[in-house]
Subunit: 333 residues, 2 copies
């Protein structure tokens, strides 16, 4: 295992300390492993809290800031944050307008966010609404989930709900927008190589030199199938076609098209993939209204990519275009 780390046991703490040093505009609660907006809680604003296992950076800590999350909880690598962390984040961002938990659909995450919501209600009377992200079309149940996994759509949901919260909309409205964003989003990923969990020290799975895994999860969970390495245009089709039929997306639909890198794949290849994805969408009459290309929802050092499509109307587009100022996503300010 070759990684830029100190002790594998310290990787999350060290990275959070790095976040704190690099982003003085944020507040990092190191004991609780929570990244917060400096000004949290924002008076009158619904608080948005997300989090999950580390290893998917910039998700979620890199999306804390104006127009997106109020707080992110960092668990150990590929391990849910514990209820106490989530409770600390929830109470810290509650201005009285209530808090939304954005939870990727993994059994541990769902359970721990639920427990934290109950604790917050009991201890401080905070009203918490949970929105579950389950955008991955690859598999129905999987290693860590009942139902579909939450993957790239999480970013879309955090941006759209974050914009709505920033505009001062009430809890039920922001939660509805988050649910709509999830309902309108579909994703599928693939891996060229495994990731290596630092504490384990060896690849999570083995892939032959000529093999790729289609439908991989962001923790290296098995996908739909192993197929021979193929040109980008064929891989794009293997990802996009199951996404299109699933919602379904149809001719005339407007979408946000997000081509995501898994952590070990360079931008050059992601643009090659984007070109193929855009070509398929043009062929189907699906209009790309906005696009995003880069490593945003990663799986440690895994080489590979995922595609997320979100069907949008004018209101969702306005929320996407609204100002955002976070370490990883920023425009309009």
């Amino acid at each position: 295992m070759k990684k830029l780390i100190n002790d594998p046991a310290d990787i999350v703490t060290d990275a959070l300390a790095g976040m704190a040093a690099a982003h003085p505009e944020l507040r990092v609660d190191l004991p609780n492993r929570v990244i917060l907006r400096q000004d949290a809680p924002t008076p009158g604003k619904v608080g948005l809290v997300s989090g999950g296992g580390s290893g998917h950076e910039p998700l979620h800590g890199g999306f804390v800031g104006l127009g997106m999350l109020d707080a992110a909880c960092a668990g150990e690598v590929f391990t849910s944050p514990v209820p106490d962390q989530i409770l600390a984040a929830t109470t810290a961002v509650d201005s009285g307008a209530g808090v939304i938990h954005i939870v990727k659909n993994y059994t541990g995450d769902v359970m721990n966010f639920e427990m934290a919501a109950e604790l917050a209600a009991a201890e401080t009377g905070t009203e918490v609404v949970a929105v579950i992200v389950d955008d991955d079309v690859a598999v129905q149940d999987s290693l860590y989930t009942a139902g579909r996994r939450g993957v790239g759509g999480t970013l879309i949901l955090e941006k759209l709900a974050g914009a709505a919260a920033e505009q001062g909309r009430p809890l039920t409205t922001v939660a509805d927008i988050a649910r709509t964003a999830n309902a309108n989003s579909r994703s599928m990923g693939m891996a060229l190589t495994s990731c290596t969990v630092p504490a384990v020290g060896k690849p999570t799975f083995e892939l032959g030199e000529g093999e790729v895994e289609i439908g991989i999860g962001i923790h290296g969970e098995p996908g739909r199938s192993r197929v021979p390495l193929a040109p980008a245009r064929e891989i794009a089709a293997m990802l996009v076609e199951p996404i299109l039929v699933d919602l379904p997306f149809t001719k005339g639909d407007k979408v946000i098209c997000f081509v995501n890198g898994m952590g070990g794949t360079p931008l050059l290849e992601l643009y090659v993939m984007y070109n193929e994805v855009a070509r398929i969408l043009r062929g189907q009459g699906v209009e790309v209204a906005r696009s995003l290309v880069g490593p945003y929802v990663t799986s440690l050092d895994m080489a590979g990519c995922s595609v997320t499509l979100t069907k949008v109307d004018d209101e969702l587009l306005r929320l996407w275009d609204a100002p955002v100022r976070t370490p990883a996503l920023r425009w309009g300010v």
Copy 2:
């Protein structure tokens, strides 16, 4: 070789087509392989042109836009763009206020940009000033250079000179700012793994499982030394200490601190490295005024990182903070 590509011969064309599809706010001249601002030339504004071999994305095409470059020329992977490309870019961005060529110090790049400048002067009377970037402290001469290599400092220079050009400053002033940015910048990189050039199909060099290369170039050129894999804090010291003594940076200096990923290293590890770099700088009394963490000047799929420090005064800081709107770097708009 496992990459998300079609034919290795088409990788640059395919990626440029992807850039064009993903960024309708830019103009991509596919035959010439030039990425341009949609509105080029901007009346009265000094034009900024850079470029180089592909494989370093988002450098340079991802830095085209308001407040940074007017055009970027994409060569084949790790190969200089040809004079005709650079000529096309130069004449396309010349509003009459002159054009600056920002050239990384590699023999082929320097020669081809020079030839293009002569052609532009002869054909259209365009006044061109070249500024060479040579910020890499690792080696004096190397595989592709006489003198030092241009690496991470290129981004800093493009941002600072780009801001000055956007403010309408004249050619000589913008060129002086670019030269100051270069003179104040020092970088050093390291690799955990080699990159693989698509047309070659195998790693450029071999590194043992327990080895890293310190002082690597962004094309996989040899560095200063091969050393055993070490904790992040020791690797940070191997990069930062030679940088500090070189300028030298001294107690009380203000710097922009840029921790760059080489393409195959995830953000989690870059923040671990940033934490160690920031710790060393604090210990030396060097003040980090601004920071940047991410994969911006890459070397295909190489795992590794580089550190760039740029000494800044209030004027350079204002230029850094000025609005920028490009695919890869954006703030203030």
